[in-house]
């Protein structure tokens, strides 16, 4: 089955579901005015749409709707032990956008969420208030703001970037990380680089991108974006994560991939590199198998303590190989492995 858009599927965001409470926020009006062809449906709570159990996230990927809601309860979460913490004690993440228009076969969001519709929380100011409180409490914070979405895809309709850059400038004790696969680097050219905002580019061999990262920019385009922002002085990390087993000649492909990185960017200017093989909570993998059809879902992984990943021997071999290739060209103290 090919997951291609057909004439009979609706456009992305053909429908916008809006919580009645979200109508009180100017951001809601801004989003609606930019998507003025969409049909609007009023809801009481985003979970009426987002958390329904009888929906098919695979089909929703063909025609995702948008949900505008007001986040209540927790705004900031402790970072998962499945993520890199850069040896930072106070490592947190937040999610004001949930789900993504990219369609990566290995993405944990597909196992975590019941829906593939995109969820925007419009009360950004509440996030900032909570963060200010947390900075006072903890002193220093490392905060990822794009684990639950590739947020840069949405800046055109949800202009959050200027807000976060402003917040980072005003609060030097927080380091903000934005993780992305985008090739659209130009939005950053509107701002001066700041030391406490890191852009982490998730990159993979082109074969992985073509096969498992549908709708995402090519490796070449991502590397162009990285090199442009490096030249402008932005702090950039590379995430070679997840490293995937792509057949018996996987190591040749990854060697080739690392060569293409060094050919296209000045790797010495990179701030840090993170490495990790595909890993996922076993419960999420179950949902992959129920709805999604990539071979990634059905590999014979090993499950230990509720986390499924490659068998130990294969995992070690993959990490060791990629690490040894990287340490020849990059300061190994800035390579983080999970």
């Amino acid at each position: 089955m090919k997951n291609s858009k057909q004439n009979y599927t609706n456009e992305t965001f053909s429908h916008i579901y809006i919580e009645k409470d979200a109508l009180n926020y100017s951001l809601t009006n801004e989003v609606i005015s930019k998507l003025n062809k969409s049909k609007i449906i009023y809801i009481d709570n985003y979970n009426e749409i987002f958390s329904r159990k009888n929906q098919n996230p695979f089909l929703q990927k063909l025609s995702p709707s948008l949900i505008l809601a007001v986040k209540k309860g927790d705004f900031i979460y402790k970072g998962s032990n499945l993520c890199h913490n850069f040896e930072q004690q106070d490592f947190y993440y937040t999610n004001f956008i949930v789900n993504c228009l990219y369609d990566c076969d290995y993405c944990y969001l597909k196992g975590m969420n019941f829906s593939s519709h995109i969820l925007f929380f419009v009360n950004l100011s509440d996030y900032f208030n909570e963060l200010r409180r947390l900075i006072v409490e903890k002193g220093k914070l490392y905060l990822s703001i794009s684990y639950d979405s590739d947020i840069l895809l949405f800046d055109g309709i949800y202009p959050f970037l200027k807000e976060w850059i402003k917040f980072a400038k005003e609060n030097p004790l927080i380091t903000i990380e934005i993780r992305t696969k985008t090739s659209n680097y130009k939005k950053f050219l509107n701002y001066s680089p700041i030391d406490n905002l890191i852009i982490t580019w998730s990159i993979s061999p082109q074969e992985v991108i073509s096969k498992y990262e549908k709708n995402t920019p090519s490796l070449e385009r991502r590397l162009i974006a990285i090199s442009q922002l490096l030249k402008k002085g932005w702090k950039i990390n590379l995430a070679l994560d997840p490293i995937l087993y792509i057949g018996e000649n996987w190591s040749d492909k990854y060697k080739e991939f690392i060569n293409s990185i060094t050919e296209n960017i000045n790797i010495k200017e990179i701030n840090a590199i993170t490495l990790g093989v595909f890993r996922i909570p076993a419960d999420y993998l179950k949902r992959f198998k129920k709805f999604f059809e990539s071979s990634i879902s059905f590999f014979p992984y090993q499950t230990i303590n509720g986390v499924s990943t490659y068998p130990e021997e294969l995992k070690n071999e993959m990490i060791k190989f990629v690490y040894s290739e990287l340490k020849n060209i990059f300061d190994k103290t800035n390579i983080y492995i999970l």
Partner: protein, 278 residues
């Protein structure tokens, strides 16, 4: 399979003719059928609608139901000026007025229909608040019960506005001819929409189909696989199919193979698994 549920016989008269459906049952609900569609007449009101929906969809949970979809089709009143008499409206929000429960179809398919919200009420009077665009007496019960069988992209409410409801006006009596004409005028639009839904569902079917399940079952039975081995086989089968984009038909070799011992079975199983993961 398209499942249609309508409250009154007069709402279905032209549909039965258009789809060339044949009557199959009188009780408990009047039912009409052909190879691609089943229609049931529920009677008016939420209890009838719930009962008929359950009756109509009772078999879908047993088999693979990804190609099935259900539609509540009929007339409704309009509560505001967004819609006029004669409009065909696809409900994007269905509200159970008394119980304050809400249901939403996942409208993934492209269409040219008008969309609006509908509230379902228990009894015919105008004492209720006009909270949504339309009003009827079945949609919410249909949706609630259909949701137990199908996913939300497989459940739709299509209504034709038959009259304008007003707080100061008694409920209108509609003639049979009038209702039939309203439905007749919208048949093309209704079934263009259902065709699109059917095409979408047919195009995007799950990886493992009924014939695949049969292969897995036959191999498991003949090799006398354990529960855990069957799970592993299902996974390996799906891996092969997702990778190679075809079914592993070589497994048919094992349909009649009876291992002499558990040891032999385990050895064959490991070999077979290795083939699937190659």
């Amino acid at each position: 399979m398209l499942y249609i549920i309508s409250a009154m016989g007069i709402e279905t008269q032209s549909i039965i003719k258009y789809l060339d459906l044949k009557k199959t049952k009188d009780r408990p609900f009047e039912t009409y059928q052909n190879k691609e569609a089943t229609l049931v007449i529920s009677g008016v009101g939420i209890i009838n609608a719930a009962g008929a929906t359950s009756y109509l969809l009772k078999d879908t949970l047993k088999g693979l139901n990804h190609c099935d979809y259900a539609i509540n089709l009929g007339i409704c009143g309009s509560l505001n000026n967004k819609f006029n008499v004669g409009d065909l409206v696809l409900a994007n929000k269905v509200v159970d007025y008394e119980r304050k429960r809400k249901y939403y179809s996942d409208i993934l398919v492209k269409h040219n229909l008008k969309e609006g919200s509908i509230q379902s009420i228990n009894s015919l009077n105008v004492d209720y608040e006009f909270e949504e665009d339309l009003v009827d007496m079945e949609a919410s019960a249909f949706f609630q019960i259909a949701s137990k069988f199908l996913n939300v992209h497989q459940i739709y409410v299509l209504k034709i506005v038959s009259d304008k409801v007003s707080k100061n006006k008694p409920v209108e009596r509609l003639t049979k001819n009038y209702i039939d004409e309203l439905i007749q005028g919208k048949l093309e639009e209704i079934f263009t929409f259902t065709k699109s839904v059917g095409s979408l569902l047919k195009k995007f079917q799950p990886l493992v189909q009924q014939q695949d399940e049969e292969i897995i079952q036959k191999v498991s039975k003949s090799l006398k696989l354990t529960f855990s081995q069957i799970n592993q086989l299902e996974n390996a089968y799906a891996y092969f199919k997702s990778n190679k984009k075809v079914s592993p038909l070589f497994l048919k070799e094992y349909f009649n193979y009876i291992p002499k011992s558990k040891k032999e079975r385990d050895a064959i199983f490991e070999k077979l698994k290795a083939e699937l993961y190659k």
